[in-house]
């Protein structure tokens, strides 16, 4: 299988382990990624608050490039990138005014037809059966809290991906690895997102509730598919515990890392050593159960 690839800024920077683990897993699953040549910023959380046109034109440029380079489906692992690409597609399709302005700005014609996948829909495409049949590590004692955040499922009218209030697709993927997803309350609760820098206390407060609920429901690990969620839950966790003593640590993994682990791939290559919250205890508890194939 072959997919176009839009890494976005996070995956080539702060969320390098996301990129590493995804590529490693896909290599194992015989899936090729072809990076969009000359891709640019998707606009992320800043463009749309500055200029509406810019917020559409940036992703539009990437979509046009992908089409020119002969791609039909592209993967945007970062939830924000996924969201921006989908929203841009929607606006270009439904609003002639914005489409014409965008085309003028980019000096190219836009045409619809690229299917944008997020991390979860990518694995659905590849086939959960394939993950299941290749799983080498016994995950049966692993309780996983799947955290979606906001950008993967909202706005539903545009993304048309899963139930915005009670999504379940990530759980399906997790089940394929043999782990047990927990039924918890905060899978789409706000993590504080970009307040991380300016109002850290908000993020700490919100993220704490998410961590608490996951632990409450006996999760050993929280799995995410968004670099922003990851950084808030992982990077801010130390301070959360410092400011609210008496709490346990819980490791935060990308979904691709969890799958990599279940496939028995090299931990280093999955970037499991690049987290703030140490993943070693979790890995150690798993490796006891490793089975030979």
């Amino acid at each position: 299988m072959n997919f176009g690839y839009y890494p976005g800024c996070s995956l080539s920077g702060t969320a390098k382990e996301f990129d590493l683990s995804l590529k490693e897993v896909l290599k194992y699953l015989d899936t090729d990624l072809q990076e969009i040549n000359d891709w640019c910023c998707c606009g992320a959380s800043s463009a749309h608050s500055a200029s509406h046109l810019l917020s559409v034109a940036l992703p539009a440029r990437n979509l046009i490039l992908a089409k020119e380079q002969g791609m039909k489906e592209i993967v945007a692992p970062c939830a924000a990138c996924f969201n921006r690409l989908k929203v841009a597609q929607h606006e270009l399709k439904t609003d002639d005014h914005i489409r014409i302005n965008t085309e003028e700005l980019l000096d190219t014609k836009y045409s619809d037809g690229i299917n944008v996948l997020n991390l979860i829909s990518l694995f659905q495409q590849i086939g959960l059966e394939k993950i299941k049949s290749n799983a080498k590590v016994d995950f049966s004692k692993l309780n996983v809290a799947c955290y979606y955040g906001c950008l993967l499922v909202r706005p539903h009218d545009i993304l048309k991906f899963d139930d915005p209030e009670n999504p379940t697709t990530m759980e399906e993927v997790v089940k394929a690895t043999g782990a047990k997803p927990v039924d918890w309350n905060f899978k789409v609760e706000c993590c504080g997102a970009a307040h991380s820098i300016a109002h850290t206390e908000i993020v700490e407060n919100l993220s704490m509730k998410i961590l608490d609920d996951a632990i409450n429901y006996k999760a050993n690990v929280i799995v995410v598919a968004c670099p922003m969620c990851h950084s808030n839950l992982d990077m801010r966790q130390k301070n959360i515990i410092k400011h609210n003593p008496g709490r346990n640590k819980i490791p935060i993994l990308y979904l691709s890392q969890l799958i990599g682990l279940s496939l028995g791939l090299d931990h280093k290559k999955l970037g499991l050593d690049l987290h703030f919250i140490d993943t070693a205890p979790l890995i150690a508890s798993l490796s006891e159960n490793e089975v030979a194939v």
Binding site: H156, D163, P164, E165, N166, D183, N185, F186, E189, D213, N216
Partner: protein
Amino acid sequence: MRIGVFICHCGENIGRTVDCPSVASACANFSGVVHAEDYKYMCSDPGQNLIKQAIKEKNLDAVVVGSCSPHMHEKTFRKACSDAGINPFLVEMANLREHCSWIHDDVPSATRKAIDLVRMLVEKVKFNEPLIPIRVPVTKRALVIGGGISGIQASLDIANAGYEVVLVEKEPSIGGHMSQLSETFPTLDCSQCILTPRMVEVYQHPRIKLVSYSEVENVEGFIGNFSVTIRKKARSVKDELCTGCGLCVQKCPIKKVALSDFDEGLATRPAMYVPFPQAVPNIPVIDRSVCTYFKTGKCQLCKKVCGREAIDFEQQDQLIKEDVGAIIVATGYKLYTIDKKPDESMIKGYGEYGYGKFKDVVDGLQFERIASASGPTSGEMLRPSDKTTPKKIVFIQCVGSRDESKGFSYCSKICCMYTAKHAMLYKHKVHDGEAYVFYMDIRAGGKNYDEFVRRAIEEDGVKYIRGRVSKIYEENGKLIVKGEDTLAGVRVEIDADMVVLATAMIAQNDSVKLAQTLSVSYDKYGFFNESHPKLKPVETSTGGIFLAGACNAPRDIPDSVSMASAAAAKALVLFGSDVLEREPVVAKVNEATCAGCFYCQKVCAYNAIEQKEIKDRQGNVIKVVAYVNSGLCQGCGTCNATCPSKSVELLGFKDDQIYAQINSFAEVF
């Protein structure tokens, strides 16, 4: 043809701007016109006598009256002419008042126009044919679909007026949602106490034929003459033998095998069951999907204990036919249940409220069962999960209603009232409990309604919070309700023991199918449409079919009952005469030239066009042509315009009649 033209001055109304005497004298010269005169008030008795007299003296066979709008006096002049022996459809009216004198100032040009207008109708009337009103016999029997309070009321009204009624109910018992309610607003009287006598009255009424556990399968015919096929579902009990002793239900060994629909899933029932103790008819049903006999071929315990040998495992669905003259649809509503995967196109669900996931989040009807003395808790206020008394309860209004983004844009109308009632019932039973209501607006229009809500707030101390709830989740055995108080401008978090959602009233699942069976229009939500929102609120677009209750729109009990009586009255009006007289302005097919393309059938909004086989003497089909059912045809003429060969024509507005008008609109080219 001998045509008479009569020009009315309408006092000064026409005469001021149109020179009536010269119009009359101009018309006297038209070919075919043998008499023309003008008069001050044609519609007055002397005026009408003038026409009658002329008809007799001059032996007229058609009349054109130049006066006001036909919408005003067409009936008057038709009647006058018909009294004098002319078929009423040989009378035409030229509109010289609304379409001429009142809208023009210049006398010469208005007079010229008046002459044109009369000429066009003189030419038309030459092609008019005598038409005889269509008389269709009326079967003086009614079918009522749905045995809730609306259907019960309509059935009783019609039966008490002396006509037979066939009442079809889908469930094993009549009673509908009202039988599930604990107490009713705004009086807090017990629902069962006021409903049960009505149900019994229906059962015992000599003129009501109750067909329960049955559904309407097919409807044919038209107003006054419907033929209805009803599917009587196999009950596995012979209703003519069963005495309703209940022994079989007691002996049924698989007790708690299925969730009770009547108790909204809060209790269980055996495979052999009566939905509730006061059921009418009190005849049990075997749920074949769970019955041991039907699954394994063994047991038959019920059969053994039945002294009347009423149990019939071999029973099949039965199709019965009923001929009726009027149909009243009273199929009611259901509550929007948000636990199931919602239909993508219509609704996006309320996953954040955890209905179906948290046992103590219930909907309005479930709460009714909890509060009901005959319910699973015998009226004790206990929450479903652990059967303890909830000390803090939260009610959320408008779940699914008035919410375009997630639910339906309409207001469910009854939730404000029943939520106030629920909160009151709760406070009356749990004196130290706290009740919160999240609302958007309080819509308590109705006699003693607002007073009732005030009572809940002021006397019973229910706390009303204006705002929406964003999320409900479970924490340490409590339901954390996160919401917003928009009046105080603060976020609210309540750790409740139980939550009641006032979910939207929606159309029954199969309402669209039934609407199509009946050829009745329905709205985008599946509610049946009334014929006119103000003036014909209980009629449908199909003659002889009327609506009652919540199948038309969300409606409470008093409204449903009044609507049911109104629908019954409409049916009784129909039964008031032996035959139904209809204007003969209907389409007619020329079978000789019809090519059978059936484009006419496609454009007919009334299903009035059927396919008719023309056979030779040996009985071989030579061709298939269109046939107009004049009982159904409403006379729009769309078929006539669509037919390429003009093989179907609308009587009264036939092609040659309109051609004559076009041909004569101007004197010269």
